[in-house]
């Protein structure tokens, strides 16, 4: 080990390297064990939350770096504190006048590079599964896709033809998120996105005004909503639940109040909600401004604030 070579020439220091070696071996092992044991308990405190397949892969990468990082942390801080304590000035002590050690220096440079190579390789292995949308577990009619796999991988063929994706256009506006659904009817919603459980949801994210960033922590990463650009993101829910998030890019004074929510519901319920939403919007378009205002209020009571009041039932295309 590095420590051995540094201390080898001096006998009284050679003794001291054995507890160090113990630390170098035992501490990472203990940390590794603790991390595995506390995997679920730590989500959100020591590690990202993860419900969607891509979020789980991101969490995997995060946890890997966390373990490697903790080992580096313990070893390097251990060396630092050990040196500070062991070599504090004592009467009569003479500092060793060493100017360097080329082999040692090349050694730790290569070691640092090797660690990064490992991280790079694992990242590239995981990357396709994070970037490419996984196939849906259900088809366009809500029926389970035969042989649908839980985990997507690179060498897997394209999703079977019958599996469906739900493509939602996400539009950031000061200070509300607007979601435009596909399909035969005109359906959109604010703040809360309703999606069917098990269906892969792809998002086309953009903005109407300033830069925002769409993020639901448990469902994977965030993507910036930038005016003039379309950014892609995807997720797939596995159980009925509501996931919360909020705008991550400073977008003005009420940046803190720009919430987003994904409500995952069974397919049937999604269908019902879709039809109801379409009917409500159609009705509001037809009826008098008074009622339009009412639905607008119901739509975005919590979300539409300040500048967002312009968004209502009438502004769809």
């Amino acid at each position: 080990m590095i420590i051995d070579r540094l201390t080898a020439p001096v006998t009284d220091c050679a003794r001291s390297s054995s507890p160090l070696r113990l630390i170098a071996v035992a501490a990472p092992a203990a940390l590794f064990g603790a991390l595995l044991a506390a995997q679920t308990a730590t989500a959100g405190v020591l590690s990202p939350q993860a419900e969607s397949p891509n979020a789980k892969d991101i969490k995997f990468l995060y946890d890997m770096v966390a373990i490697v990082g903790l080992i580096i942390f313990v070893v390097v801080e251990g060396l630092l504190f050990y040196a500070l304590w062991k070599y504090r000035a004592k009467k009569g002590a003479v500092a060793a006048q060493i100017h360097g050690n080329t082999r040692l220096e090349i050694g730790w440079t290569v070691a640092a590079a090797l660690i990064l190579v490992v991280i790079t390789i694992v990242t590239f292995i995981k990357m396709p599964a994070i970037i490419n949308p996984a196939p849906s577990d259900i088809d366009a009619n809500g029926n389970p896709v035969a042989g649908s796999l839980e985990f997507a991988s690179t060498d897997q063929p394209d999703p079977p033809a019958e599996s469906a994706e739900l493509n939602i256009k996400v539009d950031g506006q000061q200070y509300v998120w607007r979601y435009q659904y596909p399909g035969p009817k005109v359906v959109f919603s604010y703040e809360e996105m309703v999606v069917p459980v098990g269906m892969t949801v792809t998002l086309d994210i953009s903005s109407d005004d300033v830069a925002h960033s769409f993020w639901i922590p448990a469902l994977g990463g965030k993507m910036d909503a930038i005016p003039g650009y379309i950014n892609k993101l995807w997720f797939k829910t596995t159980r009925p639940a509501t996931y919360v998030g909020q705008c991550a890019e400073l977008c003005g004074r009420n940046h803190a109040n720009m919430y987003s929510r994904v409500r995952a519901v069974p397919f049937d319920e999604y269908q019902k909600w879709y039809d109801q939403q379409a009917a409500d919007i159609e009705q509001s378009n037809r009826e008098a401004p008074k009622q339009r205002q009412a639905i607008e209020k119901a739509q975005g009571e919590q979300s539409i604030q300040g500048g967002g009041s312009a968004g209502g039932a009438s502004d769809d295309q």
């Binding site: 000035a89 440079t109 930038i226 004074r253």
Partner: protein, 569 residues
């Protein structure tokens, strides 16, 4: 009068030198501080001004932490919060951590390389004054409407349409002036270090602090023009109908981001490399050992600077860019970890088998190594772009860059203040207060920022003025806020220490630390002409050579002996 002349030694390469034909009486009184072109006075002006801005930025930080100490807090309105958050970032980056190194560089570089002044003393004075005016204009906006688009001033938020107030113009003005100041200062450092080194001081004997400042200067020359250009384009967009950044007119928000971060990432190394360089000066002094791997450290500094100019888009991993681009910036960011790791190992190896004296500068330097390491490790998380998609724009990032900026730069600002205060003032600062300050700052810092990693993982975005009780972020924010006040107490102890020691500190003498570099050869504080004679440099540690020489000729022991008491307050 001083004249630029070349000595006529036949064999040596002529060295430009400012020769003093008469010893001038030191100018005194407050007007001398305004008319001065002396590098030492300008250095002190820089440092003092930066400390004032550091205090203002610190007060802003405390306001931010106070606001976030409770859910749905109404201490600050959203408008005020954004203004204070913008001013905090802008102040700390543009008015503290970058110019303060120009201050230390100004004071120390001529002394370290055995020169009588900087290459361009009047330019030097101008650099300082435009920096000051840039800062004053930015702060004057407090009397009207301060900027509120964040220190990054992303368009379109910073455009006229969304930020109508003149505060944004004040921001642009401050960027232009501080940027120009940094550029001129950088040119001055480059000219000085290249041309005015003492006889015998080849590149292999240049103190690592000078290496750090030289590379800092080159990075400034590379990076700042990009920001200056971007700020000019923003000025044109806002006031003269330009459409560089307006997406409705074919302009691009991404353009601003690229131009900004092409400056913004090198900026990180602009403010952290001088800190590293100072650690490479202080650690050998108090370990009483030569620096371990001088060439590796100098080389790593250059490597970090080179790579640092190639990683800017890792601040933009969540913007629409192709996977190839993302992967390039991920890998280039990884590479920086290698030279940075080399430095950390070299510092530890310098401590190894030394006789370490626990002075305040050493404590702050060791605190920097331990703290910056953590910022470096969290940097690996952020460099992996899929992981960054989770962490970007959250408190994890806030924690990360405070570990690097406060851990890397601010800790070393304090180390430098304690280390060179005796040289600048002729008096020692109180070591007792120094140690109290160090522990308060260290504990306060980690209390404030360690928990913020978890806040980020729990989903708390940056730059939000409030959060709901239901979010579950209350406790962590309270811990962070308490830490911030502990940290502030530590800073105040040092400021008090400075003020008291100026009048009442123990007289330091020329070389209180038994240090290695040439600035300790001259009296404290140095006379206007710095040196009566400039010794020939024979090694990286000229003061060790000089002490040995004195020892041989007088028989009086000069070298440091472990455990012997040093002059200390």
């Amino acid at each position: 009068m001083s004249v630029l002349e070349a000595p006529t030694a036949p064999k040596l390469r002529p060295r430009p030198e400012i020769l003093a034909h008469t010893v001038r009486r030191e100018e005194e009184g407050w007007t001398s501080w305004i008319t001065t072109v002396d590098h030492k006075k300008l250095g002190i002006l820089y440092i003092a001004t930066c400390m004032v801005f550091f205090t203002l930025g610190g007060v802003e930080a405390l306001l931010i932490r106070a606001q976030l100490g409770a859910p749905e807090n109404t201490l600050l309105s959203p408008e005020k919060y954004n203004q204070i958050m913008t001013m905090h970032g802008t102040t700390m980056v543009f008015l503290v951590v970058v110019p303060i190194w120009a201050g230390f560089g100004n004071y120390l570089i001529p002394l370290m390389i055995g020169a009588r002044d900087m290459a361009f003393p009047r330019l030097n004075a101008w650099s300082y004054w435009i920096f000051l005016f840039g800062g004053i204009v930015l702060y004057a906006s407090f009397f009207w409407t301060p900027p509120e688009a964040g220190w990054t001033s992303y368009t379109p938020l910073s455009s006229k349409e969304y930020s109508a107030s003149g505060g944004q113009e004040a921001w642009i003005y401050a960027i232009h002036l501080t940027g120009l100041s940094s550029m001129l200062g950088a040119a001055n450092f480059i000219a000085t270090i290249h041309n005015m080194r003492a006889p015998g001081m080849g590149w292999g004997r240049l103190p690592l602090f000078c290496w750090g400042l030289l590379i800092y200067s080159y990075l400034i020359v590379i990076a700042i023009p990009s920001l200056g250009g971007a700020a000019t384009m923003l000025l044109i967009d806002r006031n003269f109908g330009g459409n560089f950044f307006d997406p409705t007119q074919g302009g691009s928000t991404m353009l601003w981001m690229h131009l900004f971060w092409f400056f913004g990432h090198p900026e990180v190394y602009i403010f952290v490399l001088p800190g590293f360089a100072i650690a490479s000066e202080i650690i050998p002094v108090f370990a009483r050992k030569p620096i371990f791997g001088y060439k590796a450290i100098a080389g790593a500094t250059a490597a970090i600077a080179f790579l640092g100019a190639l990683v800017w888009a890792h601040h933009m991993f969540a913007t629409p860019m192709s996977t190839v681009v993302l992967a390039f910036f991920m890998l280039s960011s990884f590479l920086i970890a290698i030279p940075t790791g080399v430095k950390i190992f070299n510092w530890i190896a310098t401590l190894w088998r030394g006789t370490i004296e626990y002075t305040t500068p050493l404590l702050f330097s060791a605190g920097m190594v331990g703290t910056f390491l953590m910022g470096g490790i969290t940097g690996i998380f952020l460099a992996i772009f899929p992981v960054d998609w989770q962490l970007h724009d959250t408190y994890f990032v806030v924690a990360h860059f405070h570990y690097t900026a406060f851990g890397g730069a601010a800790f070393m600002i304090f180390a430098s203040l304690y280390f060179w205060f005796p040289k600048m003032s002729g008096r020692m600062m109180s070591e007792k207060l120094g140690k109290i300050s160090f522990w308060l700052i260290l504990v306060g810092f980690h209390l404030t920022f360690l928990i913020q990693h978890s806040l980020g993982l729990e989903g708390m975005p940056r730059r939000i003025y409030e959060y709901n009780e239901t979010a579950g972020w209350h406790l962590y924010n309270v811990i962070s806020t308490i830490g911030a006040f502990v940290l502030a107490a530590g800073v105040m102890v040092t400021i008090y220490n400075i003020v008291v020691s100026l009048k009442r500190g123990v007289v330091a003498g020329p070389d209180p630390w038994k240090a290695n570099t040439l600035e300790w050869y001259t009296p404290s504080p140095p006379p206007p002409h710095n040196f009566d004679t400039v010794p020939r440099i024979r090694s990286l540690e000229p003061m060790k050579d000089i002490r040995r020489q004195v020892e041989e000729s007088t028989g009086v022991e000069q070298q440091y002996r472990a455990g012997s008491p040093m002059m200390r307050a």
